[in-house]
Structure formats: structure tokens, C-alpha cells
């Protein structure tokens, strides 16, 4: 009996914004340091690695492109989980988490898009193809921007959180459909000669830098995420304090 209740208490401890802030204060320097170390190793490896016999040194773009693309999806998953937290458990920190993640997701998706087209130009001879993958990522980018716009349009943070939680979940079930439909569309419209990224298996020489870079990017995301959450918590705390200040001023008068 004691164990689950302990677990629940742990969870709700973490859930308390004040505790969370304390936790962030302890954790974030370590996370940041880890991120920097991983990036140092990952960047070194990615520039020290041999050139691909087919793609030349453009293969190095992969080391930023693939992790960014991975993050763009992981970030949306984090937001979908937070949205569940908002709607099902009505957890205040879940609101904060979803709101803080949106700009980060948009940022990493943008990186994935830019590096993707920079990779595409030398490889395919064009900046952009309406490939299923690229198009889906572009749609994802639009959805991040839509979510940010929605959050900015609402002044009450609790209601904004609920509205965006619903939108996030609707988007979450829709993204696979969008992906599938774009793939279908692609087979109709595109000559089959366009290069596929998932062709041959990756050589271990490329795998290691890629993995380390992916972990580094993920750590970067979590560092930024908890810091952005901290900012958001402070923002709400300030809003509450200001309202109290206004109210007590009214009482004094």
C-alpha cells in the first residue's frame, strides 16, 4: 500500500510548481553541461568522420538534420502527453509544459526544414521537393505556428491551455493521416527516380556521430524545455502577484 502512495506523493511533489522550480534550479546546470559535452563530442565526430562515397561531405548535414527532424516529432509527442495531462488530470504543470514546448518545436522543425532543403539542393538539384517527409514536416511546422498563434490570441492562460490541448490532440491523430495521404499523393505525382533517404543501411562510421548528435539535441531540448517552463511558471506567478497587488490597492483606497 505504501509504495503506490509514495509514488503518487513523489509525482505530486514534482507537480507543485515551487518544488518544480527548485528541481529545475538543481538539474539545469548539469543538463546544460551534459548537452555541451555531448555537442562537443558529436560535432568533433561528425567533422572527423569520413566522407560518404556517394554524397561526399554533404552527409554531414545529416548530423543536424536527422536529430532536428527527430526532435520535431518528439516535441509534438511531449506536447500531446502534456495535453492529456491538461485535459485528463487537469495538471497545471502540463499546461506550462505544452505552452513552453511549442516555440521549441517550431524552432527544431525549422532547423529540420532548412537543413533538409540545404541537403536537397546538392543531392537532388532542388531546394524543395514535395516529398511525403518534407511535406509532413512542413505541415507540422504550420501546426506549431498555429498553436503559438492560438496561445498568443488568448489572454487567460488556463483557457488557452485547454483550447490548445484539444488542438494538439486533434493534430496528433491527424498527423499520421496527413503523412499517409501525402505519401499516397506522392506516388501518384512523382517520378519514382527521386532519391530516397532511407535507401541503404547506414554505415557504423556515420551511425555513431549521428547517435551522439541525436542524444545531444534531445538533451538540448530538455534543457531548454525545463528552462522555458520555469519562465512560464514565473510569468504566471507574476500575473497572480500583480492581480493581488491591484486588489489590495483597491481595498486600501
Amino acid at each position: 500500500m505504501s509504495e503506490p502512495s509514495l509514488a503518487i506523493r513523489k509525482f505530486s511533489d514534482l507537480a507543485n510548481p515551487t518544488r518544480f522550480l527548485a528541481l529545475v534550479a538543481i538539474v539545469w546546470p548539469w543538463l546544460a553541461a551534459l548537452t555541451v559535452c555531448l555537442f562537443a563530442v558529436g560535432l568533433y565526430l561528425s567533422f572527423a568522420s569520413v566522407d560518404d562515397y556517394q554524397q561526399g561531405q554533404t552527409v554531414r548535414i545529416m548530423y543536424v538534420h536527422v536529430p532536428a527532424a527527430w526532435l520535431s516529432m518528439m516535441c509534438y509527442t511531449v506536447m500531446a502527453l502534456s495535453a492529456l495531462g491538461t485535459l485528463v488530470w487537469r495538471h497545471p504543470l502540463a499546461d506550462v509544459s505544452a505552452k513552453a514546448a511549442a516555440p521549441l518545436g517550431a524552432g527544431f522543425t525549422l532547423v529540420a526544414l532548412i537543413t533538409g532543403s540545404l541537403w536537397g539542393k546538392p543531392m537532388w538539384g532542388t531546394w524543395w521537393v514535395w516529398d511525403a517527409r518534407l511535406t509532413s514536416v512542413f505541415v507540422l511546422f504550420l501546426m506549431y505556428l498555429g498553436l503559438i498563434a492560438l496561445n498568443r490570441a488568448m489572454d487567460d492562460p488556463t483557457r488557452a491551455a485547454k483550447a490548445s490541448a484539444i488542438l494538439i490532440l486533434v493534430g496528433f491523430v491527424n498527423i499520421p493521416i496527413i503523412k499517409f495521404s501525402v505519401e499516397w499523393w506522392n506516388t501518384l505525382h512523382q517520378p519514382a527516380s527521386v532519391m530516397r533517404m532511407d535507401g541503404p543501411t547506414i554505415d557504423p562510421a556515420f551511425l555513431w556521430p549521428l547517435l551522439i548528435m541525436a542524444v545531444a539535441f534531445t538533451m538540448l531540448f530538455f534543457t531548454l524545455h525545463i528552462l522555458a517552463m520555469r519562465n512560464e511558471i514565473l510569468r504566471r506567478r507574476i500575473a497572480v502577484l500583480r492581480r493581488h497587488a491591484a486588489r489590495s490597492a483597491g481595498e486600501a483606497a
Binding site: G56, Q57, T58, G107, V111, T115, R237, L241, H244
Partner: protein, 55 residues
């Protein structure tokens, strides 16, 4: 254009965006801190903080 150009460009772009995100988080934090400090200077604090000071 050489392939090195594309590699450099994509690393620069990635760095720029990530730097932008870091900057956003950092500036936001500074702004929030300043606001909190101003509120505190005006004598407005959270109740829990007040109790801690009193106790």
C-alpha cells in the same frame, strides 16, 4: 557551389535557430526576474515566502 558551402550553411542555420531559442529562453528569464524583483521591491510577495521570512 561546393558541397562545403551547403554543409557550412546548414550548420550555421541550425546554430542560428538554436541560438535564437537559447536567447529567447534567457531573455525571457531575465525579464521575468526583473518583474519579480520590481514586485518584491513594492512589497508584494508570495504568501509562502512571507511566512518563511516570518518564521
Amino acid at each position: 557551389m561546393s558541397h562545403a558551402f551547403y554543409v557550412t550553411a546548414s550548420y550555421i542555420a541550425a546554430f542560428a535557430v538554436v541560438f535564437g531559442l537559447v536567447l529567447w529562453v534567457w531573455l525571457d528569464h531575465r525579464a521575468r526576474h526583473r518583474e519579480l524583483a520590481r514586485l518584491e521591491a513594492a512589497g508584494i510577495r508570495r504568501r509562502s515566502a512571507r511566512q518563511e521570512n516570518a518564521g
